[in-house]
């Protein structure tokens, strides 16, 4: 980058020039649009560097463990700016999601110092934290010597900050005053309805407003479309089938996975309201779901929507976002809709999945790793990802207020921002934080499969599930 071009972009960052002036001036200097994005972010990086000694760990070499994801792609695209700003080198191993968490568990449980930081979900930290494999990041965030003054932690959406902080007490409220910040939110997804507008028009139906309407709409779509099925939801025998649409709807009916009484946990899936919700969900899959639902992960749910094999999904909003772009057959045909399952609820209550960054306790250069983590979760990088890459959903409120980002999404993904605005206020993790999270949710998915296959009636299945979970909690000293 020439010094003249550098100064030009720095002037924009300092607020001495409008975006229109920047773009026309960049053209005159012979800077292409792609280079302009990188230069603009480099100018942002220089601005970051002005108030903080980013070169403190110059010469260090960090090694990251990453999941193959658009968030990781956005970070990699911007990584040279971090290297230049800090003088550190950064290498990474990147794995597909199918094997990613096995790799993380193997690396962390062996106390290997191979990786300094890694991508994780908040639920996983309920295992990694108590096991002593990851650091409480409060010690870094709250230390002005370690964190740059412009980091603005409070800018990260409060629901996400709380959802990634837990005090380690089984059943303890997320984000409590004594909570440890096990990871930093990086990008997240909430659960809502994505639907195929063309199919809805053809069947003359409107996006459903609640669960009973969803059942009717999905059944009508399945009947009238003559091929595509009405509603796609996950069904594999895994915790991952419980956390998206299913739990979002469940929470909207005011239902819980577990209750906490006197410090003891108790299964709460067999209340009358829960049984009624399960009956609706099971019936919806039986009548209008995919034929091989019990093998469905997010991947099949998404690709069916993108390929026109399904008319609706009740899953991650970003899954709908990605299916509305790329090479998908139904690109541009998808609509987005915030969804409150309970007709009596005032607003949606989406459960969230938060891709986050965590620090390996066995790492040998934790302060340097924190430099990377604060840069990767900074407003500048979040803005770069949101404006220029597919870093949706960003975790910072300032980015959500950015007109350029909102304009880009509104243009290419009509209805997405509105869906987000309706869904976001009630979005958080609705599970009870406790060490048997994966045991409970996997068994829950197993029971759901049995109900859909009519191996067990819903009422009986939920009573059996609750009894089994209560026994497991008791055996583990939690119930």
């Amino acid at each position: 980058m020439s010094e003249k071009a550098k100064d030009f972009f720095a002037a924009f960052k300092a607020g001495r020039m409008s975006r229109r002036e920047l773009m026309s001036g960049a053209g005159k200097l012979g800077v292409t649009a792609a280079s302009a994005n990188i230069m603009l972010n480099a100018a942002g990086t220089d601005a970051m560097a002005a108030d903080f000694d980013w070169m403190k760990f110059k010469g260090n070499k960090l090694h990251l463990l990453l999941n193959k994801h658009p968030y990781a792609d956005a970070m990699i695209a911007d990584l040279d700016n971090f290297k230049k700003m800090t003088g550190m080198d950064v290498t990474y191993d990147i794995f597909p999601e199918d094997v990613y968490f096995d790799k993380v568990t193997a690396a962390l449980s062996s106390k290997s110092s191979q990786y300094d930081a890694f991508m994780t979900g908040a639920y996983m930290t309920w295992t990694y934290g108590p096991a002593g494999w990851i650091e409480d990041l409060n010690a870094y965030i709250k230390d002005p010597k370690k964190t740059n003054p412009n980091y603005n932690w409070d800018d990260v959406l409060p629901g996400l900050r709380a959802s990634t902080a837990w005090n380690g007490v089984p059943g303890g409220a997320l984000g409590s005053a004594d909570a440890k910040q096990w990871c930093i939110p990086w990008g997240f997804e909430l659960n809502s309805i994505t639907y195929n507008r063309k199919m809805y028009d053809k069947a003359k139906v409107e996006p459903p407003k609640n669960m009973p309407e969803l059942l009717d709409t999905a059944a009508k779509l399945t009947k009238d479309l003559g091929g595509p099925y009405g509603i796609g939801v996950r069904g594999s025998r895994s915790w991952a089938s419980i956390h998206p649409g299913f739990l979002s709807g469940y929470a909207n009916y005011g239902q819980k996975d577990l209750t906490v009484e006197g410090g003891k946990l108790k299964a709460a899936m067999n209340t009358a309201e829960s049984k009624a919700y399960h009956k609706m969900f099971v019936s919806m899959i039986q009548d209008s779901g995919p034929k091989n639902w019990s093998t469905y992960t997010w991947y099949q749910v998404g690709t069916d929507l993108g390929a026109g094999a399904s008319a609706t999904i009740f899953d991650a909003d970003i899954l709908g976002y990605f299916m509305n772009g790329g090479d998908n057959k139904e690109k541009g045909n998808l609509g987005f809709h915030g969804f409150a399952a309970n007709p009596n609820a005032k607003a949606p209550t989406p459960n969230v999945w938060i891709w986050s960054l965590a620090m390996n306790s066995a790492g040998k250069q934790k302060d340097a790793a924190w430099y990377f983590m604060q840069w990767a979760s900074s407003t500048e990088h979040d803005m770069f990802g949101a404006r220029k890459m597919d870093f949706v959903n960003p975790v910072r409120s300032s980015v959500w207020k950015d007109e350029e980002f909102r304009g880009r999404i509104a243009k290419s993904y009509p209805g997405y921002v509105e869906q987000y605005d309706v869904s976001a206020p009630g979005s958080k993790i609705y599970f009870t934080a406790q060490p048997l999270f994966f045991d409970v949710t996997t068994q829950w998915a197993e029971t759901l499969q049995k109900m859909v296959a009519k191996q067990v009636p819903v009422d009986e299945g939920l009573d059996q599930l609750a009894a089994s979970i209560d026994k497991q909690l008791k055996d583990a000293g939690l119930g």
């Binding site: 968490f101 096995d102 568990t105 449980s109 309920w126 295992t127 990694y128 108590p130 096991a131 002593g132 594999s236 025998r237 895994s238 915790w239 995919p290 034929k291 091989n292 639902w293 019990s294 093998t295 069916d304 094999a309 060490p435 048997l436 994966f438 045991d439 996997t442 998915a445 197993e446 029971t447 499969q449 049995k450 859909v452 296959a453 191996q455 055996d475 583990a476 000293g477």
Partner: protein
Amino acid sequence: MTDIAVPARRRRVQLLPYLLSLPALLVCIGILVPFVTAAYYSLLRFRLNMPAMKGFIWFGNYQAFLTDSEFWNTVRVSLLYTALTVGVELVLGLGIAMLLQKQTRLNNLVSILLLLPLMTAPALAALMWKLMTNPNFGVLSYLVQLMGVHDFKWASSPNSALFTVVLVDVWVYTPFIMILLLAGLRSLPKQPFEAAALDGVPRRFVFFRITLPMLTPYIITASLFRLLDSIQQFDIIYPMTQGGPGNTLLVFQVRAYLEFYQYTNVGRSTALLMILWAITYALSNLFIKQWLKLRERARGLA
């Protein structure tokens, strides 16, 4: 000089057997260390995410399994899967081997082509079959529909999931049994068959009274290999169904994998693996004893 050199050479000669057995000893240690560690862990209450609970409980994990209906389901499914796959593969493998027994160019070519599924990694075969059985675009789903079977759900229904994974296992591993039995058939002495042909002995009699008894050592060897592999099945079942639907295919290895990687319950996971080891050990002992008996009988006859 000579007086000194001789004892040195003798010492080297004396050390040679130990040096030669060193690699075997190292391999043995390499196997025994994780085995003993796993046996020790199986006696602990040990969840990685609840370190405060860690403690020695002797056979507590094993005792808990005895009253756990899920555990007995795992035993039942694992044994059923093993019996079905080994049984079907033996019958098919033997049938194909007999068809290819005569050494012709065509038979040799066919026997090589039939080995191709064995070259496919089972996990890849599972994914391939998962696509072929997809009800939206799978070629097998299409074919069964042409045959008038609608709404066949393959691995996603508890009624057909076992059938589907057994089918994939049979596709991958029948060639293994076929090639072993084909080698056995072609190495059998010709005289008894020639004598039976001269006497006009019916083919069924020749098969049951001459071919099958003479082939039994090969059948036992092939069955043993497959049995040990089949009872430890993971790479077909997990990619296709993750042990579901429900608990339909929750075999030992899938359960042990989930216990460790998902639930971080090291104690339960290793206890499951120790039980699997005990079953495998008992079954292989049974087979090897049969094999030794047959060998002794063959020597006695000779």
